[in-house]
Structures are given as C-alpha cells and as structure tokens.
Amino acid sequence: MALEVDITKKLDGFFMHMQFRAEQEIFAILGASGCGKSMTLKCIAGIEKPDEGRIVLDGKVLFDSEKKINLPPQKRKVGYMFQDYALFPHMNVVQNIEAGMGKRPDRSRTESLIRQFQLEGLEKKIPGQLSGGQKQRVAMARMLAAEPELILLDEPFSALDTYLKWQLEQEMYKHLKEAGKPVIFVSHNRDEVYRLCDTVSCMNRGKMEVMEPLKEFFQNPKTRTAAILSGCKNISAAERVDAHTLRAVDWGVTLHVKEREIADDIRAVGIRAHFLATVERPGEENVFPVNESEIWEDPFEWNISFRKNAECSWLQWKIAKTDWSPEMGIPKELYLKEEDILLLTDS
C-alpha cells in the first residue's frame, strides 16, 4: 500500500511542486496557510487537476499528464475529509453515511458504522442539529462507508473548540488505526501533528522541504521552515565562521558547537524559547546578554523578550512559573547548551 506523488501546478504567485511517497502510516504535511497543502490533497483526490506529473496509488495510475490519464474522483477510491466536513445539510445522519454506498446501501454496515462512531440516537438528525464533534464523526463514518483505499484529512480539527479537541484527536487516532489505510493529514498545528502522526513533512510556498519520522522532525529540524513549524520561536540568519563557530547575525552573538561540524549550507540558527537557562556556569560559551527586556505573562509561564541592544532582534525566553518569577530579578545573561542549537538550511 503506497502512494507516489510527483506533481506541479501553478498557484497564485508561486509554483507548487510536490514529490513524495507515503506508505501505510499516518503522514502529516505541516505548513502555513496558503502554502499549497490543501491543493496537494485536492489534486490527489481528483478535485483539482495538476498541470503536470503523476499520481499512483498502489500501482493504480490516478493521474499521468504524459499518458493523459486523469481518473475522475469517483473512480479514485480516495476519501477526503474537509475542514468544514461538507456534510449534506438536507440529509440526516443515516442518509449522509449512505450517500457513498451506491444504489442499495447495506443497512447492517450503516448500523455498525453508527455504533462504531457512537452516533446512536442521532440517526434522524440533520447536520445543523449536531455539535462539531458529532459532525466530525459523521464525516468520518461517511468517508469510511465509501471504502476508500487512502484517507485524506484536511485540517480536520480547525473547526473545533480547543476544550475537547484532545479527546477528538484520540478518537480519530483510534479510528484511523482501525481503518488500517494510509492517511495523509494536512495541518498547520504542530500539536495535532505530534499527537497523531508517524511521519512529518513540512511545506513552504509549494515545496516540500523535509520528510522525516515524527520525533526526528521535532527534535532536530533541518530547515528554517521546519524549525518555525515545529514551534521554534527564535531564528536568526547565520554566518559560518569556521567548522565549529558561527555568528547569529540578528542577535549579535557568536555561537560555538564543538561536537558537530557546521556544514557549508547552514544559513540560519534556531533556539527554542524553553531551552534558554539562567543557571550560571563560569566560563560558559553560548551566552546571550540580556540588556533590554520585557515581560509578558501567560497562564502557566512567563515570556521574556530580550535583546542585546537596539540594533539586534528580540529573542524569546519561556519559563514555567514554578521555576522562576520576576521577583527573582531578570538575569543579566541566559545560557544555551551546545546541543540545543539548531543549525538550519534555507530550504
């Protein structure tokens, strides 16, 4: 079970070029809005047509511009879950689920889906009478009723309140594992991706930059975009001095990495806001002077913006309220462990 995609399409202001291979797993495409990630899903589903390229699912050619193959969405067996779920507003839950089951829907299958997605008692309700979570479950049931070979999820949680989102994520995870089909999950939310997926890629202006196992992606982002999308708050342009030294231009700081070699194509450096520390160790390298600072309060942590001087950019330091409070005084310097320096390429 594998999906191979290699397509290009001209979008508003840039070219989308997507090339990847997804196996039987939950694969996430993380990207800012408007980077072309939904468009990629639409091309795979056959809703939009790429300008050129090839899409193959399990050896079945869905699209091939050279051979002039472009299967209609009906023949692709690709399930698509829309951001707003796109439930048919005039059909009740049962009719929605059975919409994709052909002329003679199998009642027992409908009933088992209704049980599986805990929709008992809601059979005769129309989408307008359902909560966001219920709508999502109906959309899942409807999609699986059509027996797709591949599942595409387009920002499935963005229409929901954050309060119960984690529960819905867990449910979704369970259902996806049960379905046992390859899943492509598109999102701009790194927390969702972290909780749901096995493999992550990130997209920037129509291009896929990296594709890695989940943990690697978050622990060790390789590109500027990947660092931003994985939640890195501080990124500066970098100039390589030698194999173990570089200058973070925006911050006016020189950084040293003894354990690693700085490659020639490193253009930026990233620091996670949580990884800065107050602990003083004499003679320490990788020190950030805190000459100007501002404090912002979050419910459970303090955010301190600081910089070296007016010519430099602000950095952000986050620390839990249990570990530090403003009464302790803002430190004159902050330290960073060498291994926490993220060395980034441009793309």
């Binding site: 209609p72 009906q74 307008g128």
Partner: protein
C-alpha cells in the same frame, strides 16, 4: 342570490381550465429547461456566458407583444420554419393550444433560469467535491445534492414561472390568439369582455386570478418556511 347563481351557471369556465393547464405545462417545461440552461451557462467561459445569458433573458426584458411578434415570425405557416414544421410533423403553433404553451413557456422561462442559476452559484462547492470523492455519480449529485441545496431558489423560480405563465397575455394573444374553448385564457377573456363593457364578467375573472395567484404564493411561502425554521430576523 339567484342572480349570482344564474351568472355562475351561465358562465363559460373554459378560460380557467385553459389557463391552469397552460400554466402547469409551461411551468414543467420551464422547470427542466431552466435548470438545464442554468447548468449549461455556468460551464461557459465568461464572455460566452454574458452573451448567452443576455439572449436567454431577453423574453423577460422585451415587451411580451414583441416576443409574440418574433414567435409569430418563426411559427407562421406562411414562413419557412413554421411551414416545414407543419408539413413534416403536423405541428402547428399559430392559433392552437400549443401556441399558448409555447408563448407562456418562453415568457416564464427566464424567471426559472435566472433564479435557478443564482441558487446554483451559491451552492457550497465542497459539498459537490465531497460527493464526488464518495463515488456519487454526477447525475445523483445533481439531483440529490445540488437541487436540494439550491432548493429555495429553485422553488421561488418555479413559483414565479408559474405565476407568470398563468397570467401571460401579450405573446399568447399574438401567437395563439383568443379562440374560446381552445386558446382563450383568462387574461384574454378579461381583455375581450372589457371591450364589450361587460364589467361583471371581467371583475369575476379578475377576482379568480387574484385568488389563484395569492393562494399559490401563500402556499409556497408556507412550504418554504418549514425549511427555514431557524432563520434569523433582522
């Protein structure tokens, strides 16, 4: 009282029957042609769309007598198309009930077409995309997803088309004429009796038309309201 009964008994009811029959047939024809045209026009490129839309809307903008004049030019037995139609298929529109239907349909069609198109353009495209990925055929998507979503617009188009077809006068009088019991519709009857100074008959038929129109609209509004229970007021 006796006078009223005598009047009703002596009355020729054929105009009402002809009008309603014409109205229903013209509405059914406008319904299907209107939906078909709405869909077809939506698929056109913008330039072609503007031209075709203008042409299809003409009957609504033209004075009905002008539309009737053109219809007469086309279907007259003394002209090539009308003559050919009669000789080859025995179809005759001038001075026949077919003429009534033709005139009423042409005049009512733009109302159906325009309302339907406006409604189609409002349909959430994601619904259609979702339906496609679920494997629903285009035919099924159209009748089960698009038409119900566009329901209110299609319904109002149908009602307006029916009302317009029911009251059609100008084009009908030009093409079908006013042959009592054959092409004599209520509107034509009113015009005719007014010329004879028969205000009683004219008044009676006017009230009938008024009632039929009012009842149809009210019934349709009530029917439409059931869907819009949650509509907000402003």
């Amino acid at each position: 009282m006796q006078e009223i009964l005598d009047f009703l008994q002596s009355l020729d009811w054929s105009p009402l029957v002809i009008s309603i029959k014409t109205g229903i047939v013209a509405t059914i024809l406008s319904f299907f042609f209107g939906i078909f045209a709405a869909r077809a026009v939506m698929k056109l490129r913008p330039g072609a769309r503007a031209v075709i839309d203008g042409f299809l809307t003409l009957p609504m903008i033209l004075p009905p007598t002008v539309a009737g004049f053109f219809l007469l030019l086309i279907f007259s037995l003394r002209r090539p198309f009308g003559a050919a139609l009669y000789e080859n298929f025995g179809i005759k529109a001038v001075q026949t009930w077919l003429g009534c239907i033709l005139a009423a349909t042409i005049i009512a069609f733009p109302l159906m077409y325009r309302n339907t198109r406006a409604a189609f353009e409002q349909v959430d495209t994601n619904l259609i995309y979702a339906a496609r990925t679920l494997g629903m055929s285009e035919w099924k998507i159209f009748w089960k997803v698009v038409i119900p979503s566009a329901g209110p617009g299609v319904l109002s188009g149908t009602v307006l088309a029916f009302a317009r077809a029911l009251g059609e006068y100008g084009a009908t009088s030009m093409l079908a004429g006013n042959i009592p019991g054959k092409t004599g519709t209520v509107s034509q009857k009113i015009a005719m009796v007014i010329q004879d100074g028969d205000y009683k008959t004219a008044g009676f038929w006017s009230v009938v038309v008024l009632l039929v129109g009012f009842l149809t609209m009210t019934a349709m509004n009530l029917l439409g309201n059931r869907r819009k229970k949650n509509q907000k007021q402003w």
